[in-house]
């Protein structure tokens, strides 16, 4: 049983639980006995069904990734990710401070791109 209990099956099982609950919600929304809930209930069902579909897409992604190499490697240039995050944060503060911060953000993002890709073009000796 342990071998058959894969990552994909975990997400699928969880999606199935949600699908059952969403189906029951649909029944309640459509039921004349419990009064339904009009547009709000129908909208709630649509949101829940969409979310459940997303869970099944996650299951599909986990299944599709089953043959990916499982080796571990250190991130080669974590500084680039940090610069990118700084760029986005600076751009974000521009909403409060002013649009000129976008220039600073662009510089940070550009530096991140260079920092990430330059060593790939010219690997260190």
């Amino acid at each position: 049983m342990e071998r058959r209990f894969s990552g994909t099956s975990v997400v699928l099982i969880w999606g199935a639980f949600n699908a059952v609950l969403a189906a029951v919600l649909a029944g309640f929304v459509a039921s004349a006995t419990v009064g339904g809930a009009g547009p709000a209930g129908a909208l709630g069902f649509v949101i829940y069904a969409a979310s459940t579909t997303l869970v099944f897409l996650v299951a599909l992604a986990v299944w599709a990734g089953r043959r990916r190499r499982r080796g571990l490697r250190e991130p080669p240039r974590p500084g680039a990710a940090l610069l990118l995050a700084a760029g986005v944060a600076i751009a974000w503060t521009g909403l409060a401070i002013g649009a000129w911060t976008l220039y600073l953000a662009a510089a940070a993002v550009l530096a991140a791109v260079v920092f990430e890709f330059y060593p790939r073009i010219r690997p260190p000796e």
């Binding site: 342990e2 071998r3 979310s51």
Partner: protein
Amino acid sequence: MSLWTAGVFLAACGMILMSGTTLWTALRMRAPHVTLLRLPVFTWSAIVTALMVLAAFPALLLALCINVVGRIDPALVSGNGWNIAYEELFWFYGHPVVYVMFFPFVGCVAEALATFTGRRFFGYKGTVLSLLVFAAGSMAVWGHHLFASGQEVNDYFSLTSIFLTIPAGVEYFGFLGTLWDGRIRYTTSMLFALTFIPQFLVGGLTGILVANPAIDYHVNNSYFILGHFHYTLFAGSVFGLFAGFYLWFPKATGIMLNERLGKLHWLLMTIGANVTFIPFFILGYDGMPRWMATYPAGAGWTTLSLISTIGAGIIGASICVFILNLYESARAKVPAGPNPWQGQTLEWATSSPPPPFNFNLDYPVPRVHSYGPLLDARERAEARERAAVAGRDGPPAEQAGPPTEQAGPGPGPGRGGREA
């Protein structure tokens, strides 16, 4: 407002990405021989938390999009349908996020209980299943926040909200079964875990009350709801958080926290939490609404509000003790060693703090037969010892079991018990 919206949007995106990596790591990048049913309960709680984030947080992104569109051109989202859509989307995220804030701490408590009773977690498979069911059920209860709006299918959301007591009950059964007949060590982590159990139960039981629309109409928007919420997320989750913090701090940093200050922290926080939040239930039932800065002098709420404020002060004092503990422990630097608590799970088999990628030649990955590989090794060692003693008078020691496997330094006296 735009800054706030963008900030929440980015934070939600960050949570979604983090949950994706957590889920991928747990489902696809486990150590050799670690099958899914050999993962610690804490890891399972992280898996279900990640699933809930991936399923619920996109709804928040959509709700924020409505918010942004409304700010650009209010006419575009002016109909009542948009108000309903915003509320539905927000609460579709808003309820599961409460569970996102406590599921990991349920896992912390489970690990602390198993570690400090020296037993396997009771009902492991049942608890794993109940976590999955609990998490799925929690996706289907958001409408109970809108009971009083008259817009929801109250019957359905009342049913699903009360249904959650079943998986929650299974988890509590696991907690109590683990404690039963265990050799309990009252460390700070264990005290926080033990306090979590009754306090979170108060949060859960009052949740059943407000899952009933008839009662919810009465206490809607009152301090009763605040009491329920704070018993869940403060008296529950924060205590679980500290159970995990005191348990894993030595592993993460390599130094021990001061146990005496830790117990003072626990004592003050327990007193403070209950003195603060018990009055909320009485105030709420007396009709004190939440979200109010002040109230009429003759409302009769002053004494209880004062008691509650004193309790909040005690909680503040407990946090000061905690900060002092961090400072003192960082100064004293008492080395933790790889396994200071005689832990059972894989992380205790490596150094404190762990090396990059957790294991190396000095600390190889032990053979994993269950979710408690170090407890397995201790039990085998004890079996060999018993057989060796018996062998002097009777059968040879070879009959006792397989050869020794790496158990991690410092095997402790844990009693094991049977896997449920």
